[in-house]
């Protein structure tokens, strides 16, 4: 499983001729039970891959939406262990949807990389994105993930030039995450025309699928990115739905999954010019 699950999912989507829709949700936001309901509903709502954020007190690359999501989750006692519990509970009912954990280094250091990689694999995790662990610092984690057959997914960004790209791609597997804007999550907007040549560049250098994220909020934009990339990641717009539903006392799960469905539909039909949005 693990790496194989990511590869299988991209192979299936390639056969369908469409991009993947990747939904980012924060573990424990707004609470553990609701987060599990959301997770369980994601595949049916159209998420092809799940990025599961584990909260950190000091998320230096996040804009206000995901910062607040992390604070909501931490306020309800969510931890990295609790995040793995959620993944395990999800995996009981779904053997096919890849789950990528996304977060920051310190909770992993606290756990210990080797033990964590084993426990994450056992919980049904397929890969990891660690925002503040660049190639220069990630060999110890990469070794641990290799031993557990988990993918390390690295970020390439607008500041990653051709000279640096091979450094980023070394030991990356599953897919590459292209950060569409220089900035934090959920603030600037991604532009498909600007992003397209970078996706080409990364795809050519890596021979891996390229996901694009940071700054995709609407079905229109998701569809535009889906025409040029192998996967479209939406995070801030989804956690904003959690916040909005909590504020308005609405059904959080229903509201988040509605948003997921509209984005997923846009991605699904983007290349057929059928995006009814």
């Amino acid at each position: 499983m693990t790496k194989a699950r990511i590869d299988a999912r991209f192979a299936a989507l390639r056969a369908e001729g469409r991009a993947a829709f990747v939904a980012y949700v924060m573990a424990g936001d707004p609470d553990a039970d609701t987060a599990l309901q959301i997770l369980k509903g994601l595949p049916a709502a159209g998420a092809d891959i799940i990025e599961l954020g584990f909260p950190f007190s000091d998320p230096m690359a996040e804009g206000p939406p995901i910062q607040r999501a992390a604070q909501r989750a931490l306020a309800r006692g969510m931890t990295l262990k609790g995040t793995l519990d959620l993944a395990r509970a999800f995996r009981d009912g779904d053997q096919d949807t890849p789950i990528i954990l996304m977060g920051y280094t310190n909770p992993l250091v606290t756990w210990g990389y080797d033990a964590f990689a084993r426990d994450a694999a056992a919980a049904g995790i397929d890969g990891m994105i660690v925002v503040d662990l660049p190639p220069e610092e990630s060999d110890p984690l990469a070794d641990a993930l290799d031993a557990a057959h988990l993918s390390l997914i690295r970020l390439a960004t607008p500041t990653t030039d051709d000279r640096r790209l091979p450094v980023v791609l070394r030991r990356t597997s599953g897919f590459v995450y292209y950060v569409s804007v220089a900035g934090v999550t959920g603030v600037k907007e991604a532009d498909a025309r600007t992003v397209a040549p970078h996706v080409e560049r990364v795809r050519a250098a890596s021979q891996l699928p390229v996901a694009v994220g940071f700054g995709i909020r609407t079905p229109e934009r998701a569809a535009a990115i889906a025409r040029v990339a192998d996967a479209v990641v939406v995070g801030s717009a989804l956690v904003d739905e959690v916040a909005g539903a909590v504020d308005m006392n609405e059904d959080v799960t229903a509201r988040v999954l509605r948003k997921v469905a509209s984005l997923a539909k846009a991605v699904r039909f983007a290349r057929q010019g059928l995006a009814a949005v």
Partner: protein, 406 residues
Amino acid sequence: MNLPAKPNDYSAYPDAHGRFGDYGGQYVPETLMPLVHDLDAAYLAAKADPAFQAELDGFLTHYVGRPSPLYFAERLTRHFGGAKIYFKREELNHTGSHKINNCMGQILLAMRMGKTRIIAETGAGQHGVATATVCARFGLPCVVYMGAVDVERQKPNVFRMNLLGAEVRPVTSGSATLKDAMNEALRDWVTNVHDTYYLIGTAAGMHPYPEMVRDFQSVIGRETRDQILAAEGRLPDAVVACVGGGSNAIGIFHPFLNDAGVKLIGVEAAGEGMDTGRHAAAINGGRPGVLHGNMTYLLQDAAGQITEAHSISAGLDYPGIGPEHSWLHDVGRASYLTATDTESLEAFKLCAELEGILPAIESAHALARLGDVARDVGQDGIVVLNLSGRGDKDVATVAAYLGREV
């Protein structure tokens, strides 16, 4: 215990990977990696360029007011009845603390790199004021991130920064103090990668900052060495400094690292007391982890979430410490003591009454352990204390402690 090997040359760090033993490194998002590599290269080139050093020296002499005096604190010496006490008078620098040494070095580097916009974080506001000052002097726009809580408790410094033309942005995320200001400055940098220079105020963060800030602050220790040799014909037995992120301490320690006879003593903020959990002592009350780009001792919970620091001194109210201190602690070359809020306020009063000097509350933490160190070293010995800043900014805090209105 598995203690790391003692190096032959303590001053030869960081290594090529920006490491002091296990500590330091570059734990930053990919977007920033090319920028920190550029900074590293630019700093190495500047460091090797005599013209850059000469320019910096000129400004340190004529603008900052260096060298700062080394002053024999005669009455405190008598009061404690131990070693001879000297103060390294960093509080006499322009803007009132050691922070300007680093700001002057980094602003010259920023201009050399062609950067046109400066950002900084600040806790007490001392680094913010020093940054705003050099930005005014060289005509660069300046944005200072400051926790909303600190904006409230350091109002005079906020106004000072405004007078100097800087924009102060209050930070409400997280705990709204120094660590959050640093997060927000990093977010600004990730967003404005082309024109912006991040002027970090202490010897922490990702490589090359711990090395660069240390180098710019090492002028304190170099002068101290020359001055004590001139005054006493020998090196001191101990050097004492307060430790927030650790820049004034590493600045005075560094030129003495290979002098085995010189004890190096840092003092961390114990806040309301180490046993209350409400303190800011990363080494004495934390464990190693990763925050703000480096591996170092941190205050954190069992799951690896960073916990809030507590200190009456906004300048020490940080849950981490520079990586070189973490390493000096582990290899046993420096030792790290603590002082509570109350002990520091008492030391503040004592210094004011006996020496006619109002110390910054930060520096007062070092003063709070000075008697112990002086008695420990004994009457034939010499102790140098780094008086990192002046206390004018703190009179309201001290008045509140004394139950008085100002």
